[in-house]
Symmetry: C2
Subunit: 333 residues, 2 copies
DNA sequence: TTGAAAGCGCTAACAA
DNA sequence: TTGTTAGCGCTTTCAA
């Protein structure tokens, strides 16, 4: 910048003014300066700028996801980045594989980099460790899961209602022998889904006493094995609700393996590509990752501008998409 | 930091020494300082640090992808982030939707943020605009596609060989009436795949004169429509090679729609989730995004440490995965 | 082993 | 309309 000022024959502050489109610069000097920037291939140093600027903004936010390789979270990432890019805000993305330790380490790293906001998928049993940052007024929004031990904005799917829809859908087909298969039980969304499912059974007068709840399934293969065991046991269910994406894939494999794809009904929580290309297509409770991401970005921007409002949880509706697997009638035993 | 120094009753430089684990600090003062950092909840300011540091490193890299929502690129992202995180390097990720204009704008933004390196999927017709950064010795690695008009490291799939494998596979089943369906022709990988496919036909003595090349297909729906038209026309192919992921999905839909899934052979370039859950499973030329990402990260790290070596293109092998759709014999007309 | 002073590239505050 | 000075939080250099 000093070089530019020298070349243009003006003061360094004038260059700063031109670069930042501040008023009070004559058109003539403006052009001289711009000419010099081009000649020297000058690029503003954002790191230096943020050090001195009034609000100390770095124009960056930290995004913490289970994994950037996961399509669901990738869509959230994309949606929020689209909103933020318009405001010149860059996204630092990191994956924590649902490990509490990495969550904390990566958030600390974001804070060391003085991000202007945090968008986090929490997994630790408490987010109280964020209290210092919160009282520092660092904008923060939780996505997909609500924080624990900290009152802050969150944007989540309508997990309980979605799971209830799935249960109601299966029950309306005449199923009474249902089974629930789920992933990690220490994650809030999982508990919400289970709650919605159980509640709906209650409302419909279906006893949960005989409903197997197979939870804590770790990934696709584990789910497959559990489903095979369930389906080959005594009094197998006529309908399965899978509360998690990878679990759904595992159940699909089990059904295919046992030749039961057209016999046992299946509704999964969470949509996935090609869910309509299998035979039958898979009925799912679809979430709206783009919507979640967009709202999260808007909330972070709002927190950056306003004084802090009362924290709120934004609930994004889910939608049951019937594709065949959920519309299979109970078979006779 | 000044506050920490004050509280600990030491000089500011001593705090800096402790924070950075520099030697020449007595254990006693070390403990005093650490105690003070905890008491004040002190967090090093990475932005300020990088301004003054010897190499001016920001410990961040810029990653440009077609879209972070795309699973293939998401896997690349994940793999390279895993390598870089170990070195304390954060990843700024951005999506450019294969638009040249956004590529340039986002790269400029990365450079303004003084990233320590760039990992880019290029789409512009030339990357010559990076010459200044290149001569500035900014580490850069291109992924999935090679740069044009700039000699730099690249990590790409073995596109030509992969497409040739697909062609050879279909020909070995007795197919001679092949069709080639592809996406944008202005992207390097597409041209490589076409080349590999054509070359293999030549080697096998299959005339390309009668092979329809349907290219420039824009997304899944466009591909579906094109495939339907092709398959319902005169002398339809008995085997299709789809050179791009979304095109493969479109072709799959067309085949299903026409009831030809078990009749017309299909090999797609690029694996995707559930490719084995359809009926038949889809035979694909699988790429290795994790491998691509890992090598890209290693190259960027190497460029950060070494003096610049002769640029190289790293070719990651592909693998034909037979799942059924590619093993369908030619049907009689 | 420790600390004081200078300065990284920029912007805020103020002066001309 | 323009320029000068100070200083953001840190590390470097150099001296004690």
């Amino acid at each position: 910048m000093r070089d530019v000022a020298l070349l243009a024959g003006v003061g360094i502050k004038t260059v700063s003014r031109v670069i930042n489109d501040e008023p009070a610069v004559s058109e003539a000097t403006r052009r001289k300066v711009l000419q010099a920037t081009r000649q020297l291939n000058y690029q503003l140093d954002m790191t230096a700028r943020s050090l001195r600027r009034a609000g100390r903004e770095t124009l960056s936010i930290g995004l913490l996801l289970p994994s950037v390789a996961n399509p669901f979270h990738g869509q959230i990432h994309r949606a929020l980045a689209d909103v933020l890019t318009v405001h010149g805000i860059a996204v630092l993305a990191a994956s924590m594989d649902d490990e509490a330790k990495r969550e904390k380490a990566l958030v600390a790293e974001f804070l060391r980099r003085r991000v202007d906001g945090l968008i986090l998928t929490p997994v630790a049993t408490s987010q109280a460790y964020l209290m210092p940052a919160y009282s520092w007024n660092v904008p923060m929004v939780f996505v997909d899961r609500e924080p624990i031990g900290l009152d802050a904005d969150a944007v989540v799917s309508d997990n309980a209602v979605g799971a209830a829809k799935a249960a109601a859908h299966l029950i309306s087909q005449g199923h009474t022998r249902l089974a629930y298969l789920g992933g990690r039980t220490d994650i809030q969304t999982a508990r919400e889904r289970r709650r919605g499912f159980v509640d709906e059974l209650g409302r419909a007068g279906v006893s949960t006493a005989t409903v197997p709840f197979l939870e804590g399934l770790q990934g696709e293969e584990d789910a497959r094995a559990a489903a095979v065991e369930l389906l080959t046991g005594i009094e197998p269910p006529t309908a399965i609700f899978s509360a998690q994406n990878l679990v759904t894939l595992g159940v699909m494999r089990a059904l295919k393996e046992l030749g039961l794809s057209a016999v046992v009904a299946l509704v999964g929580f969470g949509d996935f590509p090609l869910s309509d290309m299998t035979d039958p297509g898979i009925t799912v409770v679809a979430q709206h990752p783009e919507h979640i991401g967009r709202v999260a970005a808007e909330r972070v921007l709002a927190q950056m501008e306003e004084v802090r409002q009362e924290p709120r949880t934004y609930i994004v509706p889910t939608k049951l998409v019937a594709r065949g697997s959920g519309e299979i009638s109970p078979h006779l035993t």
